[in-house]
């Protein structure tokens, strides 16, 4: 450790800044979780106070669990997120491997084309996507969502992963070729394990927008059987009356699975971010 980072005032200052930022970032989440355990009146009377014995109420959770098929919504969200994530990582990694490993005509143009999606939001194409889904009979299926999210996640995945793939030693891949490994085995057994931190980074950046998305479920798959959690929570938001207990409870529950996925990836994530920045 250098002396600069271990001096006391600096440490305190750094922690103060970080704690302040943490507080700001966590505030809305805490408000949601805290209020989800309170009665309706208490939510409006004192939204910032923690639940007391008087105001404590699980009405929100009981409503959510009783009303509608909330488990189904969770399952839908989970299927869509995990499947899209899997496809994004698989195809993203394969495309980046091809871009970084093989020399072919139009390589850099292809890379640019694949990265273009980062700059152009996929929502601009909503109408065309909807027409496409209608024409192919995929409206109100989870497949429609998985396809769209895969397309949405690929540009960033290709962009990040191809940078990391370029750093994988050529000698290692060539050693594999001389030992008679196929290109697929070189990719899966030698290269993928080495870019695991980058994969985790991509996974987190891909997963969160998919889990939180309201737009495409609303347009492509609003049927009861295919609703996702974020869409399901809208059930409680009415034009005149909103069941805040239920909405907050649903949102609190929706945080959990993505939090778990995040914890799985986070150890790798930090390595991915720093290795990209420092080296």
């Amino acid at each position: 450790m250098s002396t600069a980072t271990s001096s006391l005032p600096r440490t305190i200052a750094a922690h103060a800044v970080l704690l302040a930022y943490t507080a700001i970032a966590l505030f809305p989440v805490v408000v949601i979780v805290v209020n989800s355990f309170k009665s309706r009146n208490a939510i409006f009377r004192s939204p910032l106070s923690p639940p007391t014995t008087e105001t404590f109420d699980l009405i929100g959770y009981t409503t959510v669990l009783r009303q509608g098929d909330f488990f189904l919504y969770f399952q839908n969200s989970f299927i869509v997120t995990v499947m899209s994530l899997f496809l994004v990582l698989l195809f993203g990694a394969m495309a980046s491997f091809a871009l970084s490993e093989y020399r072919f005509r139009g390589n850099s143009l292809m890379g640019l084309y694949l990265a273009l999606g980062i700059m152009i939001p996929i929502r601009l194409g909503t109408v065309a996507i909807l027409q496409l889904m209608v024409a192919s009979g995929l409206v109100n299926t989870l497949t429609a969502l998985i396809l769209v999210y895969t397309a949405q996640g690929l540009p960033l995945a290709v962009f990040i992963l191809s940078e990391f793939m370029k750093q994988v030693s050529d000698d290692l891949k060539n050693a594999g070729r001389i030992d008679g490994l196929s290109e697929y085995r070189i990719f899966f057994r030698l290269v993928l394990p080495l870019v695991r931190p980058a994969m985790a980074t991509v996974a987190v950046f891909t997963m969160i927008p998919i889990w939180n998305d309201l737009w495409f479920p609303l347009i492509l798959a609003p049927s009861e059987a295919t609703k996702t959690v974020t869409l399901g929570a809208q059930l409680f938001i009415g034009q005149y009356v909103t069941n805040w207990n239920a909405v907050l409870a649903a949102l609190s529950l929706a945080i959990l699975p993505v939090l778990i996925l995040y914890l799985i990836f986070s150890r790798q994530l930090i390595r991915g971010i720093t290795s990209g920045a420092v080296k």
Binding site: L172, R177, D179
Partner: protein, 332 residues
Amino acid sequence: MGSLKIENIKKSFGSVDVLKGIDLDVTDGEFVVFVGPSGCGKSTLLRIIAGLEDSTSGKVLIDGDNVGNVPPAKRGIAMVFQTYALYPHLTVKNNMSLGLKQAGEPADEIARRVGIASSMLSLEPYLERRPAELSGGQRQRVAIGRAVVREPKLFLFDEPLSNLDAALRVNTRLEIAQLHRRLAATMIYVTHDQVEAMTLADKIVVLNNGQIEQVGAPMELYNSPANEFVAGFIGSPKMNFIDGGRLGEAAKTIGVRPEHITVDRNAGTWKGTVIHAEHLGADTNLYIDTEKAGLLTVRIFGVYDAEPGAAIYATPDPARTYRFGADGRVIR
């Protein structure tokens, strides 16, 4: 078993010609070193022999068979890389045996070959370790072991010592030389270090700018370089080049090696002053600024006391002075 013939190999990356027509014959059991400055195409040539890179035109024949369309694993070659390139997730033993497993060798044959290679390279204590738990020298030995177990027709070494520190480099160089003697296998070795080339090779191929400058035994290159480039590249410290015009010679450039110049305090051919002296114990390098010949490096065997600024006379050995024409070729 293990001859190599290269016919008119050319390689271009886009508009850049990396190899401009290479012809070479390597006979069975020979130790051939490709040497040249970085960017001369020596590694590309090795990769073309290995099949990791396609040549733009020309043929590679291993044991008389054109291997143009044969994948690297089927060419009967083994390669040792500069960065070792061990599989990080496999133990030393599995690193060595992966290629044989891929080729479908029976398990007892694999075990036999791994046993021989690991005892030859004293790797037995490390067989169950992963590459991350080994030192640099041990890793390079594993990489060599991985090549040995394949029992290839042709060993290819791509600057295998560049990542090792100086002491290990000497040891590993010795091991490679012993390995060659024991296996009597054909080896092709790429390096930019002329000391490695001189110490290991039966035959040195000097490459520059994608072309072969000269092929020959180490002493042949040292004693009769074909041109100015080879003369300057082989030998350390580098040969002194003096403009022919300054000395009143017909040749464009006069070359004389630092060890072929004698010095004297009182009389000699070129008068000059000592600029700097390097004392290496076994020999002394003097840098002398002469009136007629310009800056010269002189290598004197043993200890020689010379203060910077002292007047000194340098005398080249006329029998070992080289004359180069305007095209850089030696004039005999």
